[in-house]
Each structure stands twice: as structure tokens, then as C-alpha cells.
């Protein structure tokens, strides 16, 4: 089963896949700058209000955060495995591994949704109804503003990643990927790992402040 995979502007498949990889690295560079602005805002704010941030951060759900970190790291493991399988031309097994990756992504989002519901129940949504029993609820509100923004954007990225994985998993099921042609798997895999790495930073910055023994 062969699809027309070589686009006309490339010399051969190697040329095409190297170009695709350069493209995704460039895209990741723009993502780093985009998220960098938010991380800089977080850093600036935490530098100004170290005590307020620590007090507010201790109201996050460490258990869900930790489990989610494990879930996401595990998903990256399966994505890497899938990438290796595709490289060896084993298209269908690679597709199964992609489905496991996507399933773990969905588990992450489900847990995140439970956590969000808890947060709203505890009035941690910034705005008029916000309440936090710390000495400095005002900076707590800004912390939660950044919390919703950062984790929300991350969740959105994860959703896009799951969509992309499902698309290539479907192609993998049809046996499209071969030793010569598997660059979409590489590209999606790089994106997935990037979203995973962002979470590792978020985990440290959101769940751990104020929790040192």
C-alpha cells in the first residue's frame, strides 16, 4: 500500500524528512519564546512576592500534580518507542504505541479536569469570587491567574498533540510508515516531548513552592 508521500519540492524522502524536522524545531523555538514570556512574568512576580506565592502554591493539589507528571513522562516513553518502531518500518505496532500515548494524554487531561473542578469549588478562580486563606490573598490571586493561564495553555497544547497523534496513528494503522518514510512520526514525537518538558517546568513552579520541609 503506497501513498504519494514525496512532495514535488523535494529531491527525495530524506530531503523531505530533514526539512520537516527543521520545521518542527523552528516551531518549537517560537513556542519557547511564547511560553518564555509567561514564565518571565511568573519569575518577575515570584521575585516580588516570594512569601505570597509560596502560601498560594501550597493550596494546589500536589497528589494530582505528581500523578500527572508520572502519566505524562510515561506517555513520552511510549511515544519514543513508537518513533523507534516507525523508524524500523514497523508501522502497525508503532500505531498501537501511539494510541497508548494518546490514551495517557487523555488520562492527564481527565485528572486535570478533576483538579480544575476542585479549584473552582475552592474559589480559586480569579475574579470577584476569589478567596484564599493566606496572609496575602492579593498576590495569591495573581498566582492563580498565572496558574490557570499556564496550565490552560499547556492543556490546549496537549489537546493539539493528542489530535496530531490520532491522525498519524490512523496512517500508521494503514501501514504507511516505512524505513524510508516516517518523518511525521518524528515531527509529532518532537512536539509531544516538548509539551512534556514544559509540564516538568510547570510542575516545579506551580506545585512545589512552599512545600520544602
Amino acid at each position: 500500500m503506497s501513498e504519494h508521500v514525496l512532495e514535488k519540492q523535494f529531491v527525495d524522502l530524506a530531503h523531505q524528512s530533514e526539512t520537516a524536522e527543521l520545521g518542527i524545531w523552528g516551531f518549537i523555538a517560537t513556542e519557547v519564546l511564547f511560553l518564555g514570556g509567561l514564565f518571565a512574568a511568573y519569575g518577575f512576580f515570584r521575585y516580588l512576592h516570594p512569601v505570597g506565592v509560596a502560601a498560594a502554591a501550597s493550596h494546589t493539589d500536589l497528589a494530582i500534580g505528581t500523578v500527572n507528571t508520572i502519566v505524562l513522562l510515561t506517555s513520552s516513553f511510549f511515544m519514543s518507542w513508537s518513533s523507534l518502531a516507525a523508524r524500523d518500518g514497523e508501522s502497525r505496532p508503532a500505531g498501537v504505541l501511539m494510541l497508548i500515548t494518546a490514551a495517557l494524554g487523555i488520562v492527564f487531561l481527565g485528572l486535570k479536569a478533576i483538579e480544575y473542578a476542585e479549584d473552582i469549588h475552592e474559589h480559586l478562580w480569579p475574579g470577584p469570587g476569589f478567596s484564599l486563606s493566606t496572609p496575602d490573598p492579593k498576590s495569591g490571586e495573581v498566582f492563580y491567574f498565572l496558574y490557570w493561564l499556564l496550565t490552560g495553555i499547556h492543556a490546549l497544547h496537549l489537546l493539539v498533540g493528542i489530535g496530531a497523534i490520532l491522525v498519524i496513528a490512523n496512517r500508521a494503522r494503514r501501514g504507511v510508515f516505512t524505513r524510508a518514510y516516517h518523518s511525521p512520526v518524528r515531527v509529532v514525537s518532537l512536539y509531544w516531548h516538548f509539551v512534556d518538558v514544559v509540564w516538568i517546568f510547570l510542575f516545579v513552579l506551580i506545585y512545589l513552592p512552599g512545600r520544602a520541609p
Binding site: E7, K8, Q9, F10, V11, H15, E18, T19, L22, G23, G26, F27, A29, T30, E31, L33, F34, L35, G36, G37, L38, A41, F44, P126, G127, P128, K138, E141, V142, F145, L149
Partner: protein
């Protein structure tokens, strides 16, 4: 004529890209970079007319000191619409998305860009963003100016602001994807033998522009996201009434928007660098310097944003450093101007319409650049900040420079894009009229600014009226001059003579294809054996 060929190419057969499918879907779902360029061209022409209508309204209002027809609030909304539309819906996309799209693969000897589907996606994102922005601007009362300065934008503006910000956010995606597509294409799709130093200067300037698009736009996106989010949640990031820092907004905004100024001028410099050698019949002078000065502008352009904030309350040490760096960034621009002049020196110059526009660019850009140095000087800036001097300065760069370059490109590559020739005398007339109308519009504004007339007001003291009347008169000439090309270029599509493949006798790869080019550009991948601008040495 044989000296103008820089490669051996078999004659290319097959349909031209224009006749390869004539249904609406064959255009709206096309992956062909040339058709996508046409789509962009139509879209930004529409936006240009809307932004231009707003400008006409502004100049009409300023005919009299009390304001001729707009109340203060409507006036504020009008210049906000003018600024937002012109910056994001015309100037930023102008040359890159039209001529960059059309020419880059041709100049690289490639069949398309690296990611044709993403290219089409960019156009859809761009068009959607334009409609969202316009919907927000027209239905809501957004009156912040294109800079959305805090706390004005979060404290006093209506909810429509969020709609406009969202539109610009989407616009940013389009910019980023276009930039990424160009960067990757230039790295990966050059034809055999086409080394970096054999690339036309247009490719170098498009490369520098694309890098800025990729690396600066995300900062704008995150800034606007924070404004919108604090607007919705009522939390203070920038808004001082909630404990935010409005200066932080200015830093983040100009960290994008100053590099964006170079997005709006570098492509124009690239166009002029193609046109000058063609009509001077000479190799470009100082190729390496022109090429690398684009990169230098892109790099240094990232560290001069503070010169927008000299009077906003940044420390005197920061101001000194930013002032110095702003002088530094003028050096690569000056290098370009001197090299263009040296290219003209002892060339055998002819004055076809594209050349007239290009020469106009050099003059107007030089005036704009030199007055930029005035403003980079701290003492003078204190006096001229937020006056019409600043307005005149950046319009000399943006309109005198970039819009002239856009028209230069339009006339230079029109025969290649459409396969038709336009009436040359009309084109020359329009070029001269634009130059004249432009100067009459904006030179008086230097004087007004020097005399102290502040920008962004619907009314002004009566002693400024004479210069304002001059400026408005110039604007009406300029408006007529911008309509002219629409008419005769439109006419040429139907009645124009068929264009030969290389009407100017230029050396670029794009001129080696038929006019208009076939869908696949080249029948066989070209092999490049000579440097660009390989015109014969002038015999003395």
C-alpha cells in the same frame, strides 16, 4: 543578451499557473505558492483601502482647528482603526506574503515552498484574523491607538478590545507560520549550485524578516494574551489599579513592535536591491555588506525597544544605552543606502516605473532614517515625543519606504506575475505623483511636530492650520495617486500586451521561466553556476 543567463534551462512547457484550474476551489484550496501570493495580494489590497479610507477621514478632520466632522471619540476610533489595519493587515504581511510567496521558490530554483499546506493555512488564518479585527474595531469602541497602552486598554476600553486582541493573536500565528516556512525553505530548498552568496539580496532580506517574524511575534502574542486575560479576570499584571505595572506592558509590547518595524522595512530593502542593479545594468556594489546588513538589522533591532520609552520613566542609564544602540542600528541601514548609490554610480541607468519607485524609496527612506537619529537623541526626543515629528518620521519609513517598495515590486514583477505589460507612461506618472503627494502630506508634519503639535488629538490651536491644510491637500493627491495603479494595472489584465519572459533583461532565476510561470515553476531543477546580478562590466 546571453550574458544575462546564469544557468542552462530547457524551455518549460505546460499550463501557466493562472490557467491551471479555473474553479473557485482550485484557488481557495490551492497549494501553489504563486496562487497563494495572489490570494494574499487581493486580501491586503482590500485592507489597504480600508486603512487608507480611515487615513483620509483623519486628514479631512484636521483641515480645521476644531475638527471638521468627527467628535473626539470617533476620531480616536478612526486613528486606532487606521493604525491597527495598516500595521498588521497591510505592512507586516505586504511584501513577504505576496512577493515573498511568489518569488522565493522561483529565486531558490524550487517547485514550491517547504510546507505548501501550511502556507495556505497561513492565508486562512490571516484572512480570518483580518475579519475578526475589523469586526471588533467597527462594532466596538476601541480607541486605544494601535499600541493598546496600559492602563488605557484595560481600564477604560470596552469589551470589543478583547475581540481585536484575539484577532491580532490569530494574525500572529499566520506571521509565525509564514516566517517559519520561508526560513526552512531558504535553508533546505536551494537549487544545486545556489550557495548562500549566490542568493539574490531579496532572499537575504526575506530571511532576516522571517527570523524576526518567528522570534518577535510570540512575544506580542503572550503580551496580548496577558492584556486580554487581565481584562477578563480583573487581575493586575499591567493594570496599576489592580497592582500591575504599566511599564512592563510597554517593555513587552515594544520588544515585539520595534523588531516589527524592521519586518516592515527589510523586505522593501530587498526589493530595491533587486531593482537598482537591473536598471543600472550593473552588478550590485558590496553584495556581502548588503546581505549581512539585513542580518545585522534583524539582530540589533531586538535590543533597541527602549527608545520608545525615553519619557515613560525608564532609568537614565537604560535610556543612554538604548539611545546608543539606536544609533548603532542606523549603521547597517546606512551601509545599504551607500551601496545602492555606489551601484548607481557609473551605471547605465534607465528610468522605468519600478526604478522611479525604487529611487523614491531611497530618498524617502533616507529622510525617515535620518529623522530617526534625531529621535534617538535623548534631548531632542524629550521635545519631539508624541508630536507630529514622530508621525512624520515613521510615515517616511513605512509609507515613503515600504509602500513605495511595495509599488516598486508590483510594477517590477507585474509582467512575471500576470503575463501582461502595463502602460509605462501612466505608471511613471503615478510614481511621480505618489512621491509628490507623499512629501506634501508628511513634510509639513515634521514642521508641525517641531513646533509642538501633539499627535492623537482631534483638534489643534489655530496657528497650526496652514501646515495642516498643506498636509491634507497632499493626502488627497496621495489618495488619487494610489487609486491610479489600481486602474491601469486592472486595465492591463484585460488589454495589456503579452509580456515576454524577461522584459527588463534582468538576471534573476525568476526571469528564466515563462511569464506567467507554469505551476511547477521549472521543468527541471536548475543548476546555478554564476553569482547574482551578473551584468556585463561597464566598458569605459
Amino acid at each position: 543578451m546571453s550574458a544575462t543567463t546564469i544557468l542552462e534551462l530547457p524551455p518549460c512547457r505546460g499550463d501557466s499557473y493562472l490557467t491551471d484550474g479555473s474553479t473557485l476551489t482550485s484557488w481557495l484550496l490551492t497549494h501553489d505558492h504563486k496562487r497563494i501570493a495572489i490570494l494574499y495580494c487581493l486580501t491586503i489590497t482590500g485592507f489597504f483601502l480600508i486603512g487608507g479610507a480611515a487615513a483620509a477621514l483623519i486628514r479631512l478632520n484636521l483641515l480645521t482647528p476644531q475638527g471638521l466632522l468627527l467628535d473626539a471619540e470617533t476620531y480616536n476610533r478612526t486613528f486606532t482603526l487606521h493604525g491597527v489595519v495598516m500595521v498588521w493587515l497591510f505592512l507586516v504581511p505586504s511584501i513577504p506574503t505576496t512577493f515573498g510567496n511568489f518569488l522565493l521558490p522561483l529565486m531558490l530554483g524550487a517547485k514550491d515552498l517547504a510546507f505548501p499546506r501550511i502556507n495556505l493555512l497561513s492565508w486562512y488564518l490571516f484572512t480570518a484574523s483580518g475579519l475578526i479585527v475589523l469586526a471588533g474595531l467597527i462594532t466596538g469602541s476601541v480607541d486605544t491607538g494601535w499600541t493598546f497602552y496600559e492602563p488605557l486598554s484595560s481600564g477604560y476600553s470596552s469589551g470589543a478590545l478583547v475581540v481585536v486582541l484575539f484577532g491580532i493573536f490569530v494574525n500572529g500565528f499566520s506571521s509565525i507560520l509564514t516566517g517559519l516556512n520561508f526560513v526552512v525553505s531558504i535553508h533546505r530548498l536551494r537549487a544545486p549550485g545556489l550557495t548562500w552568496y549566490r542568493l539574490p539580496i531579496f532572499c537575504w532580506s526575506t530571511y532576516a524578516t522571517s527570523v524576526i517574524l518567528m522570534l518577535a511575534t510570540p512575544i506580542l502574542a503572550v503580551t496580548l494574551l496577558l492584556v486580554a486575560a487581565e481584562h477578563l479576570w480583573g487581575v493586575g499584571v499591567f493594570d496599576p489599579t489592580h497592582g500591575g505595572d504599566p511599564l512592563l506592558f510597554q517593555h513587552m509590547f515594544w520588544f515585539y513592535s520595534h523588531p516589527a518595524v524592521y519586518i516592515m522595512i527589510l523586505p522593501g530593502m530587498g526589493v530595491v536591491s533587486e531593482i537598482i542593479p537591473t536598471f543600472a545594468r550593473k552588478k550590485i556594489f558590496g553584495y556581502h555588506f548588503i546581505a549581512w546588513s539585513s542580518v545585522a538589522i534583524a539582530v540589533v533591532g531586538f535590543v533597541v525597544w527602549g527608545h520608545h520609552m525615553f519619557v515613560s520613566g525608564e532609568s537614565i542609564y537604560a535610556a543612554l544605552v538604548f539611545s546608543f544602540l539606536s544609533f548603532v542600528v542606523a549603521v547597517p541601514s546606512a551601509i545599504k543606502v551607500f551601496n545602492w548609490l555606489a551601484t548607481l554610480h557609473k551605471g547605465s541607468i534607465s528610468f522605468e516605473a519600478p526604478m522611479l519607485y525604487a529611487l523614491g524609496f531611497i530618498l524617502l527612506f533616507t529622510i525617515g532614517g535620518l529623522t530617526g537619529l534625531f529621535l534617538a537623541t535623548l534631548a531632542f526626543d524629550e521635545h519631539a515625543t508624541a508630536t507630529y515629528f514622530v508621525v512624520a518620521h515613521f510615515h517616511y519609513i513605512m509609507v515613503g519606504g515600504m509602500v513605495s517598495a511595495y509599488f516598486a515590486a508590483l510594477h517590477f514583477w507585474w509582467p512575471k506575475v500576470t503575463g501582461r505589460l502595463y502602460p509605462e507612461s501612466w505608471a511613471r506618472f503615478a510614481a511621480i505623483l505618489i512621491f509628490f503627494g507623499f512629501n506634501l502630506t508628511f513634510f509639513p508634519q515634521f514642521i508641525l511636530g517641531y513646533l509642538g503639535m501633539p499627535r492623537r488629538y482631534a483638534t489643534y490651536p489655530p496657528e497650526f492650520q496652514v501646515w495642516n491644510v498643506f498636509s491634507s491637500a497632499g493626502a488627497s493627491i496621495l489618495a488619487a495617486a494610489y487609486i491610479l495603479p489600481l486602474l491601469y494595472l486592472g486595465w492591463s489584465l484585460v488589454r495589456g500586451e503579452r509580456a515576454p519572459s524577461n522584459p527588463w533583461g534582468a538576471t534573476g532565476l525568476e526571469w528564466q521561466t515563462p511569464s506567467p510561470p507554469p505551476t511547477d515553476n521549472f521543468a527541471r531543477t536548475p543548476r546555478v553556476t554564476r553569482p547574482p546580478y551578473d551584468y556585463p562590466e561597464p566598458t569605459v
